[in-house]
Amino acid sequence: MGLILWITPGIAVLLSRIVNNTKGLHAISVCASFVLLLTAGFATNRVILYDTLAYKLFGEAFFIDALSIIVLDIIILIGFLVAVYSVGYLNEECRHEKISQKKIKFYYSMMYVFMLSMIFAVTVKNIGIMWVAIEATTLASAFLVGFSNDKRALEAAWKYVIICSVGIATALVGIIFLHLASIDVVSSSNALQWDLLFDRAENLNSPVLRLSFIFILIGFGTKAGLAPMHTWLPDAHSQAPSPISALLSGVLLNSAMYAVLRILAIVNRNLGDSSFTGRLMIAFGLLSICAAAVFILTQRDYKRLLAYSSIEHMGIIALAFGLFTPLSIFAGLFHMINHSFTKSMLFLASGNLLQKYGTREISGIRGLLKTLPVSGTAFLLGLFAISGTPPFSIFASEVNVFLSLFYEKHYVLGGVFILLLAFIFGGIAVTLFRIFYGEPARGAAIGCGEINRPGAAVLAALLVIILATGLWMPDLLKGLITSAQMIMIGGLSI
């Protein structure tokens, strides 16, 4: 049953190459993502009951445990919402004659290849295959980033492909060293299987493992958007079409971070304590938050600002996992979920903005709440959410991160962290809040009212989700995150 997760996007790609009717393409996409949603629900149920979900096909190649299921659920849920939003978005683009029907076919086929590669990355046990899948996500999304084919989009796509490919090649060096570290411990037919490596982690060769962690952190950190390897992120996320930006920001960054987490678990188990990895992750995390804070102040393009905010949140996640206490791991996992939903909502809302106003400049937009009531409200509340205001979910996870910082007596780090977050809130407020006031410029030409009906529904749904998770933690979710946390710690006595 779980293999449907692999097969469905494949079928969606094939069908979207064959079908020529726009309505048919939209229907295929929404149905495919709905099927994925149902399967994910089924898989989550199985994981909660039985701890892992694995099939004996190809030597247990398909493998989901609690950590994977969290990331997988985020991927599929946001994928579904983006598919629904894309229907309205693409129809509007077609109406304005910006893209042809062939391009819609291309969009859907590439989007499902992208989804397939991301699902693949989190459902395999072999670290080498996970690497192959993550490289495939870069390649699959390259043309999506360059979708509009103008100068800026091409430049963004080129930077994206080159920097991420080089980064992922660095991660491959790390994986080779991981293989070297495990060569006496695990037989060559089972090489690079995560569960075997995790069980026998104490017997791995420590110096080589340390070396491999450094390379993997730098390599997959490039893909996850950690500074100083983040330079592709603002360009790629701002030039891509908005639903794709939502996928990139909300989902892809998580998958790259997931790869780092798997290796982090092994290395921490081997070394016995988390000081080596912790220092590195905290350093990269703080550097990312700083870089984001500095650049947010001077942005004039709202999508780029949202991209820098993604860098900031990835930094917070890295910080949380660097601390590696039970509370901070819980907070990190929860933050991954919250950031995905909030950021996707923001990018989808910004897509509506872009279609309505036709400009990416912040100064070109005024009187948002009048012209786009639903998207405007979602955007405003989303901005509050992303900078960590209660009662939204990001506040809940960020509070847990500072609590864990202060419990571990890292007072200076905690202080710096809070200062940077305040700085970022100030930056977002100064640059963005003015778009909500005033009269819309070119008033008559713009007109009031939502264009993208399905999109508006999606935004409303996401808004409800982030409010709900901020106020109340369902037991199901708590149980799932706690099992993932147990996997990562796996017996380390912290």
């Binding site: 072999n126 080498g128 295959i129 690497w131 192959v132 490289e135 495939a136 390649l139 390259a142 043309f143 360059g146 084919n149 103008d150 100068k151 800026r152 091409l154 430049e155 963004a156 796509a157 080129w158 930077k159 492909v161 080159i162 490919s165 080089v166 090649a169 491959l172 060096v173 994986i175 080779i176 293989h179 070297l180 570290a181 060569i183 006496d184 060559s188 037919s189 090489a191 690079l192 060769n205 110096p207 080589v208 070396l211 603002p234 360009d235 701002s238 030039q239 650049f295 001077t298 942005q299 780029r304």
Partner: protein, 218 residues
């Protein structure tokens, strides 16, 4: 037998030096082809040894894939890509070639100090081979950043992948087979995509000088 691997690893390292000291696209592709042929030879010898000792055909299949992909297919793709673009010789560099070569020597020394004496490597010969292969990876990185044209960056990426493959082969007798095949599929797709992008960039920007890609800043 160890001596043969030593010599092959030195020749691979030397081919990457030859790559850095070249100025013409045609020469880049030819040198890449030579380097891939040397790597295929190494894989072939190692595979042959494997077949004789263990009866495993994996490494030989990988050798065949390398020949098909890196020696034949990818250079042809690159030739076709650069056939669409009117540029033959790089005329300007950030540094001149002797300085580039000396920086590469520095990279070899650096790789020696970082990678040699990894406890898990048994013996001096494997140490030498891993130092040489890791230097190829570093020289590939350096090649990418020292070229101003987009095609140079693609070739730098290919050299990095070459170096990684050789490091894997010398230190751990190759990655698991399915991972190797996955890596090659990724590589060929990456080259195809990068090639298509270079052609599009050439159409939009009228040149493939990466310094001209400066619209997005800040």
């Amino acid at each position: 037998m160890e001596h043969y691997f030593d010599v092959l690893s030195v020749l691979i390292l030397l081919s990457s030096f030859v790559l850095v000291s070249n100025k013409r696209i045609h020469a880049y592709i030819k040198t890449f082809r030579l380097q891939s042929a040397l790597i295929a030879l190494t894989a072939g010898v190692m595979g042959f040894e494997d077949v004789v000792n263990d009866g495993n055909y994996d490494v030989l299949v990988v050798c065949a894939i390398i020949i098909a992909l890196k020696v034949i297919l990818i250079p042809r793709l690159l030739h076709r890509t650069y056939g669409n673009i009117e540029y033959r010789v790089e005329k300007d560099f950030f540094f001149n070639i002797p300085i580039l070569v000396i920086i590469c020597c520095g990279l070899v020394v650096f790789s020696y100090f970082s990678v040699s004496n990894i406890g898990a490597l048994s013996g001096l010969h494997i140490n030498l081979q891993v130092v040489n292969s890791f230097s190829v990876v570093l020289i590939g990185f350096f090649f990418m950043i020292s070229r101003k044209k987009a095609l140079g960056q693609i070739i730098g990426y290919l050299v990095i992948e070459n170096g990684i493959f050789v490091t894997a082969m010398f230190s751990t007798q190759g990655m698991p087979f399915i991972v190797d095949v996955g890596i090659f599929i990724d590589l060929i797709t990456a080259v195809l995509i990068m090639g298509i992008m270079v052609i599009r960039i050439n159409d939009q920007f009228e040149s493939i000088d990466v310094n001209k890609l400066k619209n997005l800043k800040g």
